[in-house]
């Protein structure tokens, strides 16, 4: 076993000792990852996992480094890029990934990627045509 692997085992025993907590956050992450296009509701999630909403947010952030909401937004933006590149309209994409307003989708998209969804779509489509 390498020095690195030994260190991983040592650190795991300290940082990831609480299996119940880990299973809870993994369950939440998987739920968000597969249901990102729905109205993901933390009250419901905490109910399923039998923990309070605020405790759930804290736990998620502790293990993943970001809040469930931030994770959800990243997931939606990532998926929206696929839709736009495949030619879906900006409006269609917005609702397909679970956003409820074009305005908030566009501004979030621009903040995360540097381009507006319309511009991103145009660039991707012209690239796939020239390729």
């Amino acid at each position: 076993m390498t020095y690195y692997e030994k260190e991983l085992h040592r650190i795991r025993a300290i940082v990831y000792a609480n299996e119940a907590q880990i299973n809870t956050v993994i369950g939440v992450r998987n739920y968000i990852a597969t249901n990102y296009e729905l109205d993901v509701n933390l009250d419901m999630l905490s109910h399923i996992q039998f923990v309070s909403k605020f405790h759930l947010i804290r736990l998620f952030k502790k293990y993943y480094g970001l809040t469930p909401r931030q994770y959800l937004i990243d997931k939606r933006i990532e998926r929206s890029k696929d839709h736009l590149a495949a030619g879906m309209t900006v409006t269609g994409t917005c609702f397909a990934v679970g956003f409820e307003s074009i305005g908030s989708f566009s501004s979030l998209f621009k903040r995360k990627t540097g381009l507006s969804p319309a511009k991103f779509r145009k660039e991707q489509l012209s690239r796939s045509k020239s390729a």
């Binding site: 390498t2 020095y3 690195y4 692997e5 991983l8 650190i11 795991r12 940082v15 990831y16 880990i22 956050v25 993994i26 992450r29 998987n30 293990y63 993943y64």
Partner: protein
């Protein structure tokens, strides 16, 4: 400022280019001849061709401390950097079949699963799947 480039020190650029494209599946993006037979070679991942580029840099051949550092990491089994995969077990099986050598098999570390392989150019590399 933007993050666009991740440099990987390699002992043999041509061999690295082959390994990273043929075995791992990255795509060559740039290949610019420089002095003394050195090249500026960058790669992108198939899924994110607009994403950050990997630079295959012949640093260990020209700068002794780079070689010393690389050797020490290799000896300790410490990965130089890591790549994301969506299914680590499948990737592990595919690469093993392709003759890639792993110093650490897929191992769960809390909310991620990781494995470490030898890139045959002087580095250990880690694959990580978020759970």
């Amino acid at each position: 400022m933007k993050v666009t480039l991740i440099s990987i020190p390699v002992r043999d650029q041509e061999k690295a280019l082959k390994f990273y494209t043929e075995k791992l599946g990255f795509l060559k993006k740039k290949d610019v001849p420089l002095e003394g037979g050195n090249r500026w070679i960058t790669l992108v991942s198939k899924e994110a061709q607009d994403g950050p580029e990997l630079l295959l840099e012949p640093a260990p051949l020209h700068f002794e401390p780079s070689k010393v550092y690389q050797e020490a990491l290799m000896e300790a089994g410490i990965p130089y950097t890591q790549f994301d995969v969506s299914n680590l077990d499948a990737e592990y099986e595919r690469l093993t079949k392709n003759g890639v050598e792993f110093s650490m098999k897929p191992t769960v570390m809390g909310t991620v699963k990781v494995a470490v392989f030898n890139d045959t150019c002087g580095n250990n590399m880690q694959l990580v799947e978020e759970l």
